[in-house]
Symmetry: C2
Subunit: 218 residues, 2 copies
DNA sequence: GTCAGTCGGCTACCATACAAGTATGTCCCG
DNA sequence: CGGGACATACTTGTATGGTAGCCGACTGAC
């Protein structure tokens, strides 16, 4: 089997979980996945362990592993982490941003406007990674990405709506405008508003699929 | 072999790496570790994979696994993540803090004053976790902890000095005082100062053991 | 009908065996 | 003496086997 089976399996599982192709609460059998993907149990198991570390699956010894259900407390926690990191980065970026950075960001926003809904996801990721890079903290992307995974999963069903994407692109543009003009408070406020839109999206998804959610443990 | 070998091995390796019992750059053989710890390669390997995900070790396929060297860029990145999260949490905590919280924090600070240098580490962790809990974002501890691991490792050699510990406890007290009195700016500034002390400690360690460090990739 | 006991099948966990690639030390040749 | 090819001893990656424990369905007694 190919030499990088684990990376392949991990990426595939992660994608399927985030896009809700595998719904929250669904059981994951190591044997079944191994057979289905044409690899042995080892790379599958190692991928599952990594996904568990990231909180995307929950493994119960001797019982089974399940895709983590959507918990509002987890979503709030992930949002806190992401917002703290991106806002702190943006505050530093205000002093360091250059013309080339602004041009790159505007090009990304333009691409997002013309992109099909399916192509929006990677462009969105690149936009936020770019924001981190300006302040020189691109290496914090891993932490942001881990948090973002939970948020993207929780709102994934609401994204295909073209209207939603338009709103997001407008918010991106507002951040870039304020950043380019050096308006600190306006920029961070715009970013906060943008990031917190996830709560609205989650509320929509929650109505469509209440079975994906579980109540927070008291 | 004991049930839960992976958790045991992972905790042990992590501790040895953070405390520099295993120095940066040292090779880690899965076979050797398995024999030394009396378990098979499987739990060792799974632990190594998790440590690699956290950036504490670097595994080169078909060549070897090495404890990650100390990179100043990694340390700066970890510091950025930790500072952003803890400061954001503290800002929210100012509106939510109760008398019981302050009492608990003061008790922790008192315990830190009377603690032997070796016992300081867990008390320090509990203090910072407590700060997160006040704002209701205790679940962000995992992200903080991952970042903190790199910082603690980089300054571990400077901590046994009793004088250093006294300074840290004083800084803890300053944060608690400002938090109890509701002085927002003073509290966050005190926390920032406290967290950034790591750079001084790292400079000391760097002089003692320049071989543990590598230059940043240009 | 109801409940206790048991048995079968499933799970993840740990151990082991095999495969494939890399670095190194050695030997031979120029 | 210097350099290159090769054998060997490692490394991690993958595949497979065996074990302990949990869950559920079935059975039998009350």
């Amino acid at each position: 089997m190919p030499r990088g089976a684990r990376a392949h399996v991990l990426e595939l599982l992660r994608h399927r979980i985030i896009t809700l192709q595998i719904p929250p609460g669904a059981p994951l059998s190591e044997n079944e996945l191994a057979a289905q993907l044409g690899v042995s149990r080892t790379p599958v198991r190692e991928s599952v362990i990594l996904l568990a570390e990231q909180g995307l699956v929950s493994v119960v010894p001797q019982v089974g592993t399940y895709v983590a259900p959507l918990r509002l407390s987890d979503i709030a926690s992930a949002q806190f982490v992401r917002e703290a990191l991106e806002v702190a980065s943006l505050a530093e970026a205000l002093d360091k941003v250059g013309d080339q950075d602004v041009a790159d960001l505007r090009a990304l926003v333009a691409a997002q406007r013309n992109a099909a809904p399916d192509a929006f996801f990677p462009l969105d990721e690149e936009f936020h990674l770019r924001l981190l890079s300006i302040s020189g903290h691109a290496s914090a992307w891993r932490a942001v990405s881990h948090a973002k995974a939970h948020l993207d999963r929780a709102r994934h069903l609401s994204l295909p709506l073209p209207r939603q994407v338009d709103v997001l692109v407008d918010q991106h543009e507002a951040v870039v405008d304020a950043l380019a003009q050096g308006r600190a408070e306006e920029a961070t406020d715009a970013l906060r508003t943008h990031l917190r839109k996830v709560f609205d999206d989650v509320a929509v998804v929650r109505q469509q699929h209440p079975d994906y959610f579980v109540d927070d443990p008291a």
